[in-house]
Symmetry: C2
Subunit: 430 residues, 2 copies
């Protein structure tokens, strides 16, 4: 008896899912214990030319009828976005069908509803493809590390921005030139907002934090800054100090372990950190757990075939569960930890100031840091006269204290401009 799969969406990822289900049919059947049958493909328009070789008889525009069809065992959603994806997934789960999805936006915005429907429908909800494409990450976090205590997740989870920052780092290009190149190569979309403003990474960060800390997290909990204001000078100056700038998604417990923060922003990391070597559009996620220590997962974070690989892995798992009458692990939010506000985040900072070149400047600047209890690790003056710059790196301090310091600095007459403020991460890592 074949297990029947309904596919929602037949774009870049969907057409690869169709191809792989076809090409690897024998292997998939052997691994599952029963063949898979593609029983229907919901698309927006029937006439469109597709990459995939889909039997036209399988195509339908009535996705709602497809997901509730009695003979369907597994629903695979690769439409993306909130609606109609959410309604379709809920309809499938409500009728007891297991769902495999790659939909990070939905899970980050309204995961609670979807997970509750899975529980109520006694159905599986698998979503490996929602974060970091082909990189096995959801399964390791929710299964392999189920006996451990995760302290921190530090990830490069957006390939577009990593490509742009890597180009800026290796060629000295400006942000807009690097973005243009990424667009020309298909790494960035015509409207790059979701990537360069960090929305995509923030959705992934919310999903990762929820799993890592067994709590409920939504995209709204994520502090988000994009990379549009990173200049070639920032990149060059980081490089000169042995750092590289990456857009990081960071989920970290507070020192007392009772709350955690979730944030997406550009940060300087040492070139010796394993994440520093992640080039081009690759993704990588660094996990620090109490017993496991430091782990890193690296690979292609996007693209049709890599994402389809993750979807297929989930289909195999769900299909085995269907055959065994079993269910995979469900959402785990028992710890119910609080997401603390960004002001409570503790990290280090790199601050560049345009200053007047006269005696006493450093003392007044240092005093402003001291007033907020922000301790300075290194300070260095670059240039002279009209070009004088002070570059400071702090010890660990709260975001609130650093913000108050910066505000105070802006009011000093000897500070002509706060040129850049950048967080420094990954210093403890070997």
């Amino acid at each position: 008896m074949a297990l029947k799969v309904a596919l929602l969406g037949c774009g870049v990822v969907g057409s690869q899912v169709v191809r792989l289900m076809h090409e690897q049919a024998d292997d998939l059947a052997a691994r599952i214990g029963a063949p898979l049958e593609l029983a229907g493909v919901a698309v927006r328009r029937l006439g469109r030319r597709r990459d995939a070789d889909v039997d036209p008889a399988l195509l339908t525009t009535d996705a709602e009828a497809l997901v509730t069809r009695d003979d369907i065992d597994i629903v695979v959603e690769v439409i993306g976005g909130i609606e109609p994806a959410r309604s379709l997934i809920l309809a499938a789960l409500n009728s007891g069908k297991s769902v495999v999805t790659a939909n990070k936006a939905l899970l980050a915005e309204d995961g609670a509803t979807v997970h509750a429907a899975a529980r109520a429908g006694n159905a599986d909800l698998y979503f490996e493809a929602a974060v970091a494409g082909a990189i096995p990450l959801i399964r390791p976090l929710r299964e392999s590390l189920a006996g451990d205590h995760v302290h921190r997740v530090l990830g490069i989870v957006n390939g577009t921005t990593n490509y742009i920052l890597d180009q800026m780092d290796s060629s000295g290009a400006s942000f807009s030139d690097a973005l243009g190149e990424a667009q020309a190569l298909g790494y960035a979309e015509a409207d790059p907002t979701a990537d360069v403003e960090g929305f995509d990474a923030a959705a992934k960060a919310a999903i990762l934090a929820g799993i890592a800390f067994h709590s409920r997290v939504t995209a709204a909990d994520v502090h988000r800054e994009g990379i549009t204001e990173i200049t070639a000078t920032d990149v060059a100056s980081a490089k000169a100090m042995g750092y590289v700038i990456k857009l990081l998604a960071i989920c970290a417990r507070s020192d007392d372990g009772r709350s955690f923060g979730v944030r997406v922003h550009p940060a300087m990391i040492p070139r010796t950190h394993p994440l520093a070597g992640v080039r081009e559009a690759y993704n990588a996620v660094f996990v620090e757990a109490q017993s496991a220590g430091q782990l890193m997962f690296y690979g292609a974070g996007a693209g049709g075939a890599p994402t389809a690989s993750a979807v297929l892995g989930d289909i195999v798992a769900v299909a085995r569960n269907v055959l065994a009458g079993a269910r995979g692990p469900e959402e785990s939010t028992y710890a119910d930890l609080v997401v603390h506000p960004m002001g409570e985040t503790v990290t280090r900072y790199h601050v560049s100031l345009d200053v007047a070149d006269k005696p006493g400047v450093l003392a007044r600047v240092a005093d402003m840091f001291a007033k907020q209890d922000v301790s300075i690790q290194t300070v260095r003056q670059e240039g002279h006269g009209a070009d004088a710059q002070l570059v400071l790196v702090t010890h660990r301090a709260s975001d609130a204290a650093l913000s108050a310091t910066i505000e105070g600095l802006r009011e000093l007459d000897i500070v002509r401009d706060v040129v850049s403020v950048m967080r420094v991460e990954g210093e403890d890592a070997s």
Copy 2:
């Protein structure tokens, strides 16, 4: 109702398992849906001082009685070695109890028997900790990549040898000095044979190859060479050419996909390869799959706490299965591919020759390569007169052809010595 766990062995890993089960009891119970209870610990001698705080009433020297006790749900084996581990695991599985083990030697030598017992007993057999300690690798390979087609697995799976080679690379130390340091730091054992001769890595390679290619592989199928003959000169010369020497476990399909090879040997890899940056005693495994592309998994490959983290992750998975009356994925050997002999392995080679410094030498050397159809990519002469050396790097050629070439070279009067022959791997990777 608590799930009862029997622990076999209470050494470096076992005592960490006890500690974590105790310290994380509440989290484990919440994640599983029921508490775990340590119901018995089998040890060799009762009086011994232990790191773990185990209730003496739980200790027993009668492991056999413990594993078949009616109230035991899960048996955790961290004794290691073939016997008595095998008999105990088989007794547990035969009585329908699921098993979590870290035993690479047993799985590599006689996995077939153990897996068959799991099937017959309708019980789970989980072994994430058997390969690369805390790094989630078994689960990603057998579950996340279940919908993909793995071409190649390339791993640093032995921390001791990686520490030694990394020391040789960074400080120019000799093999014996680096080994001495590794022993002083506790990274290498007093008798380092299992590590430095590649036996440990070979067992892990056999397990990885079996899972990656859905075929049965034993340690005897693995071509194995250790690192004891690597000299400081080899390391320096690799470094000068932009390479680093690593002990690699390589599982690779043949070009036609019908067979595969499994081997453990030192190899030169480019310093730009993600595996090149794996320092000290860390492990990392690079996987190339058809759709997922290049993936890498990095972390601590050994040690009590990291290995216990992997064991605990498996205990949670097995416990959930016990509660649900379900079973995890079982051994998958349906593909039944053949392991090809080492002679059929195709790769590139770096060859150093001590030669007489006279006209015509290069022509005669090149001719010997040509006779065996081994094509030369680069050749370089170093030194003059008595110190003249030829350094050649070949294109891809079979191990058999290269061996025949080397044999031929040894017989040439103008070749005073074949100084080193080293495989070159990882050149295609970005």
